[in-house]
Symmetry: C2
């Protein structure tokens, strides 16, 4: 697996919030219902993003969660870093200590290029652009 389930759910939830950016707060229950994700599990995941300042939350009626920054300023990499950390992009893929061009393992040559490209694209792709593509039906957000 490239990404953990938590991370995937987190990305999809932030996508949902980006698409619904005109609403200040969206109940987590609404997101979990539409996505078919466990409500309590998603709640815990979104708490991490709330603590990171990426999204904001409010309790009570009319409460929920919402983006705390412009969707266009949040990258896919931002969410991945919060939920899965950066080990995918920093540690040796064969589990050897340290990963550097002058201390390579058998997969280093392949993975160093791939991961650098992947990281760059994840950093450049923002949720504003993705939300627009979802709204315009160019990409999907749900299982349909």
């Amino acid at each position: 697996m490239l990404l953990s389930k938590s991370c995937v759910y987190g990305i999809r939830a932030v996508l949902y919030l980006s698409v619904n950016d005109e609403r200040e707060y969206v109940p987590i229950k609404e997101i979990s219902d539409k996505m078919g994700i466990s409500f309590h599990f998603l709640t815990k995941i979104l708490q991490v993003l709330t603590n990171a300042g990426m999204i904001k939350s409010m309790k009570g009626a009319k409460g929920g969660v919402g983006l705390n920054q412009p969707a266009s300023s949040i990258s896919l990499y931002d969410v991945i870093r919060e939920l899965d950390g950066e080990t995918l992009f920093e540690e040796c893929v064969l589990g050897l200590p340290g990963c550097a061009d002058d201390n390579p393992c058998s997969m280093h040559k392949i993975w160093r290029v791939t991961k650098a490209e992947l990281k760059k694209e994840l950093e450049e792709e923002n949720f504003g652009s993705l939300a627009q593509q979802i709204t315009e039906d160019e990409i999907r957000l749900y299982d349909v």
Copy 2:
């Protein structure tokens, strides 16, 4: 994590066998000791590769495991496919059902290119070449 621990250990063990290709059988204990991997765990992993025909094994004194094909004919992708399957390269990275260019998710555009390149390189990199680089001290096999 890109690869499971089983997969990483499997790759490293096949690397060891490739470097020691002149020996018909190498005891698993020797590999696990040198690599600092649990002997019984590695045994189970190598059984998968044995059943797949990639390596051969023999019980008893002078027994062990050894490559069942020329090292140059085994690719990194071969080992990954046996131990981790192909879900990394086939399934939607956001967990949506199906993954196709005409049915993309928000990460499809980024990941489809990355994964295709990665897969190609993993298929092209063979253990003969890697063993030679290890022998020539260009890449490392152990934690040192």
